[in-house]
């Protein structure tokens, strides 16, 4: 019956006519989990901002450092919100290299990213995939698979890497993080990265405008705005900084002299 309204619980329609930020991101990282529409958007963005692939690499590198940091801090369960399309250096790979039993839950709203994640993780009993929109924290934390995988009375490492800049102010990202804060136990951490125009103003804004026409507009936030998202969390040294500067493994990795070129903030906070 063609006239039917899609019920809420049905997966969203997959529209290959429109780019998906998950697949575009995969392209930036040199993946081939993408289609022509995705590559078009990515290539246009790269023309506006040739550093983009580097920035994405830096973002992904932060992800790895943050997870390693959390592992070192004793965190033994992870919640990766806006996990995207698994390429290399995924959270579960990093985690399971040191603790094969530590549960990792991936959450994304993109049904294709979720389906792909499920395919990759089939048979992996320590990794779970949940399709959910993070703007609905009640649904997220009510998800039975998530609740089965994670013990929310124990500390969790929550990752919101390169995702909150897809949540406009009208959807209250701070409120979403606040809800998350309430759900997780003291001793938990939140690691996030966020696009900003604080560094490379003109180019970042141009990319922002490009994304504005895509299905996932990009909200560039200032350092203060990103700090505000951490409300309630105590900042972990060095606080909120440009991507490569957050606890680099070596002097060369830090790109210290040109960190602002990376147009993205990173930070980790502790839920006390």
């Amino acid at each position: 019956m063609h006239w039917l309204e899609r019920p809420d619980w049905a997966p969203g329609e997959i529209d290959l006519e429109r780019p998906s930020v998950a697949r575009v991101y995969d392209y930036y990282l040199g993946g081939s989990h993408n289609f022509a529409v995705d590559r078009q958007l990515a290539q246009r963005a790269i023309r506006l901002m040739p550093d983009l692939p580097l920035i994405m690499q830096a973002n992904r590198a932060f992800l790895r450092r943050a997870v390693r940091f959390l592992l070192a801090a004793g965190v033994r369960q992870f919640l990766d919100i806006g996990s995207g399309i698994p390429t290399v250096g995924n959270v579960h790979e990093i985690v399971h290299a040191s603790d094969p039993d530590a549960p990792v839950v991936y959450v994304d709203s993109d049904p294709v990213a979720v389906a792909h994640s499920r395919a990759i993780l089939e048979g992996n009993r320590s990794a779970t995939v949940v399709q959910c929109d993070l703007r609905d924290p009640r649904a997220l934390f009510g998800d039975p698979a998530l609740r089965a995988a994670l013990d929310l009375s124990q500390p969790v490492g929550v990752l919101m890497i390169a995702v909150l800049h897809f949540v406009p102010d009208s959807d209250d990202p701070a409120g979403v993080v606040g809800r998350l804060y309430d759900e997780i136990a003291p001793g938990s951490y939140l690691a996030l990265t966020h696009a900003t125009a604080d560094g490379d103003q003109a180019n970042a804004r141009a990319v922002g405008e490009l994304y504005a026409q895509s299905p996932s507009p990009l909200v560039l936030r200032s350092r203060a705005e990103v700090s505000a998202l951490f409300k309630g969390f105590s900042p972990i040294d060095p606080g909120i900084v440009f991507l490569p500067v957050w606890r680099p493994e070596s002097e060369r990795d830090s790109h210290a002299h040109e960190a602002e070129r990376f147009s993205g903030y990173a930070g980790v906070g502790l839920r006390t």
């Binding site: 019956m1 969203g12 997959i14 081939s32 692939p53 390429t87």
Partner: protein, 764 residues
């Protein structure tokens, strides 16, 4: 897959092995790589490497830095590349020389996610430019470097081949993986959709409520069985219809406004109660909810309408409403409905609208009811109702039963009095034929009060009051007729009513007084008596003469105490005059109303008053009207005899206006006749006096004298009249010529000895 170059033919197996690794799960392979590089063993490996390899690995790492995303820090990248460097170094020098390590290094790079094409280019460059130099191989014997150069070239080629091969595999794998993910997602979405459709189908098919789906043009696309049952159309037939085919004439206008807004996408749903015609013509009441379905981009696409059958509730409501608004006996609208309609006209109609009412009441219905019983009475009412209804329906007018035997016809938008009077005429005529019930032919007639007016001059209460009064007029004017409301008549009656209401307390408050008008003998101008006339000093209307209130007093019964009071007053004064001139024959004449004359206490009252005042009976005259005396039953006649026997004089007032049986007069105890002023008027002037009046007066006087009665003429105003009356032989006269009514004290002077009234003009 391309074939490895000629010189590597012997290494074919190794190539396929490397390839087999690369074509495994791309991510798992990458994982294996990163795990390998992350292990603690790498530091040992690093330590064992030669310084040349170490230097080259550093150059290589710098060359490819940032060209691809790899999950490694720079130090890890260097370590990884060092392993590969050593492999290449070994290959350069190996005997026999094999090119497959170059191929394997190419695939290893891609496996570590060095997937950028720049990685390939830069690696080929850095290998060519720096590998031999960093490994210190350029300085070996002549010819040797050439051999190493060509080995390097083969390794570079093989490396490129391995890299491209692995990258292509990886690309294809990833494309396949992502397409598979899309496929899975689609299947899942479709499964969910099918499930939801199945659920919807189940709901749609089995729901007790009717559901219909239409497009924005109103075409009905699908309906469920319940709706088909409700409307009585087969499903397929309904689907050939359009929503707008189901307009019901009584639809509230907003239903279709809401519908238009919904189609325009201005609202997403609406709910309303709406009537539908079933296929069989019956009316279906529904509680209707219509929702707009939009597509993914928010454009309106379809409408889903849900119908709950509320006919039952409605018919109950209607039945209750009908019951509340109709009379169970005649099934006519009842007074509630009538008043509802009437007040709606006053509330809503334009102010120049006119309306008419015929307020009808059967004549003598009570008699039928009492004589023939309520059953017959009810049947009569039903038949009358039917006839009236047919008659009212002709003109499209509302007929209502107001209760009992009262009906009303409402003429809306009346064209004028004529139209409404015509309706009243028709109503009366339709009752002309006797009504046959239970073997009785019952003649029925009705009286109708007709009111017709512009609504802005009135209110519904006014109209009803007017109709009520007018009906009463029709009754009192003789029944079996209509009367038209007349505001002057109404005003008079209102004034009368006001007066009659004020009468009882007026007597208590002493608002009445008695005046006396002399009666003068024509023969000598002497005073023979006075007539006592009551006056009402009304606080607002001033002095009122008896004709304004005596009939009211008669109607209300107040005439009896009032008459008694007048009698006592008059007797008191007469007693005074008796004392003033005891020898003179002089009487006071007091009017007795009909009701008084029939009052059983009359004799005792009169006797008591005479005793109380000490007036000689012969000094009292009682005046009765002709009709009071003539129509008297025997007992009343006996009363007159008793009074007369006591010596009281009896006079007939206004003689000549009734239809007196003159022969009967001789049997009555009457002493005097008073001829009505109207006859005397004909004797007014010398020129144009009415000869007939003169003859009548003459005949009356002769008759009276023949019966030994004396005659007094009333209303004498001129000397001509006085002269004529004197000639005719009339005994006495009363009127303005002699004196107007005056207070008792004014009479005293007239009793002075020797005083006479002039009968002729006294010319000086």
């Amino acid at each position: 897959m391309t074939s490895p170059p000629d010189r590597a033919v012997s290494t074919g197996n190794a190539v396929s092995t490397g390839n087999a690794v690369a074509t495994g799960n791309a991510v798992a392979t990458g994982n294996a790589v990163s795990t390998r590089t992350a292990g603690p063993a790498r530091n040992t490996a690093l330590a064992q490497a030669g310084p040349g390899s170490l230097r080259f690995a550093g150059s290589w790492a710098r060359a490819v830095a940032g060209t691809s995303y790899v999950p490694m820090e720079i130090a890890e990248v260097e370590q990884f590349l060092l392993t590969l460097t050593e492999k290449l170094a070994a290959a350069l020098l190996a005997e026999p020389f094999r090119s497959c390590p170059g191929y394997e290094v190419g695939t290893a790079l891609v496996d570590a996610h060095f997937t950028g094409v720049e990685t390939l280019g830069r690696t080929v460059s850095v290998l060519g430019e720096r590998l031999l130099a960093e490994l210190g191989l350029e300085t070996r014997g002549d010819g040797e470097p050439d051999e190493l150069r060509s080995r390097l070239a083969v390794l570079q080629g093989s490396f490129a081949e391995g890299f491209a091969d692995a990258l292509r595999s990886r690309t294809l794998d990833e494309q396949e993986a992502i397409r598979h993910a899309v496929l899975v997602t689609r299947e899942e979405a479709e499964r969910a959709l099918r499930a939801s459709e199945a659920r919807f189908r189940a709901v749609f098919a089995d729901a007790a409520i009717g559901i219909g789906i239409g497009d924005l043009a109103g075409n009905i696309l699908d309906v469920n069985q319940s709706l088909s049952d409700m409307l009585g159309y087969p499903v397929e037939e309904l689907c050939r219809h359009s929503a707008t085919d189901f307009v019901h004439p009584d639809d509230a206008p907003e239903v279709w406004q809401l519908y238009a807004q919904l189609v325009a996408g201005e609202r997403d749903h609406f709910r309303s109660e709406k009537r539908y015609f079933r296929k069989d013509g019956a009316v279906l009441w529904t509680d209707l909810t219509v929702s707009l379905i939009r597509d993914d981009s928010g454009e309106p696409r379809y409408m889903v309408a849900m119908f709950e059958d509320i006919s039952e509730r409605h018919s109950l409501q209607n039945r209750l409403h009908h019951q509340a608004m109709h009379d169970p006996l005649t099934h006519l609208p009842n007074r509630s409905l009538f008043f509802e309609r009437l007040s709606r006209i006053f509330a809503e109609a334009p102010e120049h609208t006119r309306l008419g009412l015929c307020y009808l009441d059967l004549d003598g219905f009570k008699v039928v009811n009492d004589a023939l019983g309520h059953d017959i009475g009810d049947q009569l009412l039903v038949t009358v109702a039917d006839r009236l209804k047919a008659c009212a329906a002709d003109g499209g007018h509302l007929l209502a039963r107001m209760g009992g035997d009262e009906f009303v016809v409402l003429v809306e938008d009346s064209q004028g009095t004529g139209q409404v009077v015509a309706v009243a005429d028709r109503l009366l005529r339709c009752l002309d034929q006797p009504i046959r019930i239970g073997g009785h032919d019952l003649a029925v007639s009705a009286s109708i009060g007709v009111v017709e007016r512009e609504i802005r001059t009135s209110s519904s209460a006014d109209v009803m009051q007017a109709a009520d009064i007018t009906l009463y007029w029709a009754k009192s004017d003789g029944k079996s007729r209509w009367a038209l409301f007349d505001s002057e008549r109404n005003d008079r009656e209102v004034a009368r009513y006001t007066l009659s209401a004020a009468l009882p307390s007026a007597l208590d408050r002493g608002e009445f007084e008695v005046e006396y008008q002399p009666l003068v003998r024509f023969s000598d101008g002497s005073l023979v008596g006075v007539e006592a006339l009551v006056r009402w000093r009304h606080p607002t209307y001033g002095r009122l003469s008896p004709d304004r209130f005596i009939s009211l007093a008669e109607e209300t019964g107040l005439i009896v105490p009032l008459g008694r009071w007048v009698l006592r007053e008059a007797c008191r004064e007469a007693r005074r005059w008796q004392d003033m001139s005891p020898d003179r024959r002089f009487f006071v004449s007091v009017n007795l109303a009909v009701r008084q004359s029939r009052d059983p206490a009359l004799v005792s009252d009169v006797t008591a008053i005479l005793e109380e005042t000490g007036l000689e009976p012969g000094r009292l005259q009682l005046e009765l009207t002709e009709s009071a005396i003539m129509g008297t039953a025997d007992e009343a006649l006996a009363v007159l005899h008793t009074l007369s026997d006591k010596g009281i004089r009896i006079a007939i007032d206004d003689f000549g206006t009734g239809y007196s049986n003159l022969a009967y007069l001789r049997h009555l105890p009457v002493h005097s006749l008073k001829i009505a002023g109207s006859f005397i008027e004909g004797l007014r002037s010398s020129e144009d006096g009415d000869p007939v009046d003169r003859q009548i007066v003459g005949a009356l006087v002769s008759l009276a004298h023949a019966l030994d009665l004396d005659v007094t003429a009333e209303g004498v105003e001129t000397f001509v009249q006085a002269e004529r009356l004197k000639v005719i032989g009339c005994d006495a006269g009363q009127g303005w010529l002699f004196a107007r009514p005056a207070p008792a004290s004014a009479i005293d002077a007239l009793l002075a000895p020797g005083f006479t009234f002039p009968i002729r003009p006294e010319y000086p």
